[in-house]
Symmetry: C2
Subunit: 197 residues, 2 copies
DNA sequence: GATCGACTTGGACGACTGCCCAGAAGCCTA
DNA sequence: TAGGCTTCTGGGCAGTCGTCCAAGTCGATC
């Protein structure tokens, strides 16, 4: 059933996805055109609409793949840390690799933004973020965090995204100096949460 | 010296800025065109380039004005809260008014994103965010927060931006349920920060 | 009323866009 | 080798874009 043909198509499709992801990070969701993607992938302009129904279709497929891989790797390795306080310190060190203006950071922010206007993308991204949140919450619970682990995980993920955002404004922002407040949040001897008000 | 003429010009300029801010929130930084702005402002297409050197020039001027007003109002009213723990609860209630996909939320995210690629905008936005951070830090210090107030303020502002981002993905996210972790972070009896490691 | 400068108008320019499609090329089965 | 299917090519379409500019309108000054 046309195996080599299908293979040829698959690699072209993959090249298009890679080129699209790179371009989204470079020039933004709104700055990517079909011709730019085709040129970077080394194919004719028309081939984009052979493999994808439309430009948004291509961009959604390209960026969700990258985002899922990034977030899953980050939360997976966070869960390997022995305890929450060590975990957030490791996390800040890891985040320090992102400048806020590098392709990976920009791709994430671009996605959040595009998601606000594209319901299809929003649902996909929401699923990815919710998965991370659940995974972190259960890791906190396993490690003896006494408070509301769901809420703590939600704030932690939000803080991470916010810090990536702020690094874009101030590349000199020292993330490792922020360990104190985050440690206070994930500390295992919570003596109030979940029982007051 | 043509006072009424100058006045006429000023109102047109202001109308252009208002129309631009609204459009950025609606269709995104990359989706705004000179013709759209002119039409919404009720003027001829060419008038945009009479008042502004270029389209980016107009967009930068429009969005920084709105962002400064928003952030200054939020941090100003936060600083009026009696103590940090009450403060973060008030803050979460305030943030609940934003759906994450409303014009105000989108304008903020759009700005962060555009700032990553426009140095001029980045510097302006950095200044605004740094001001808020300083103000919150000194408020924490005045209210007896024992830890690293600079770091706590930085994480707090980051968490706020991150939560606005996440509300865009999940409008059902209950922000008030996240008070616990944030209270733990700003609690005034910090018994470790600033002295370990 | 004449004159001047600030402001506005709306059409024009070339460049770029997403999408389309007829035809060519490649590969597989028979 | 012949036929058929998948994939690729590159030009074409109608539309929008940012920017520009000659001509026009307006209010203030003399």
């Amino acid at each position: 059933m046309a195996e080599a043909s299908a293979d040829r198509g698959r690699t072209t499709r993959q090249r298009l996805l890679g080129a699209a992801a790179a371009l989204i990070a470079e020039v933004g969701w709104g700055g990517v055109s079909t011709r730019m993607v085709a040129e970077r992938a080394g194919v004719a302009p028309g081939v984009v609409h052979y493999h994808f129904a439309s430009l948004p279709d291509l961009l959604i497929t390209a960026s969700t793949g990258v985002a899922r891989a990034m977030l899953e790797e980050l939360t997976g390795r966070l869960a390997e840390q022995p305890d929450p306080e060590t975990g957030v310190e490791w996390l800040l060190g890891e985040l320090s690799r992102y400048t806020g203006t590098d392709p990976a950071s920009l791709l994430i922010v671009e996605m959040y933004l595009a998601a606000a206007r594209l319901p299809e993308l929003r649902d996909l991204l929401h699923e990815i973020v919710a998965d991370s949140r659940t995974q972190i919450a259960s890791w906190l619970r396993d490690r003896g965090h006494a408070g509301d682990t769901e809420a703590t995980a939600a704030v932690l993920v939000a803080a991470v995204d916010g810090l990536v955002l702020h690094r874009g404004l101030d590349p000199g922002l020292d993330l490792t100096a922020l360990a104190g407040p985050l440690r206070a949040m994930v500390r295992t001897d919570g003596h109030e949460e979940g029982s007051e008000t």
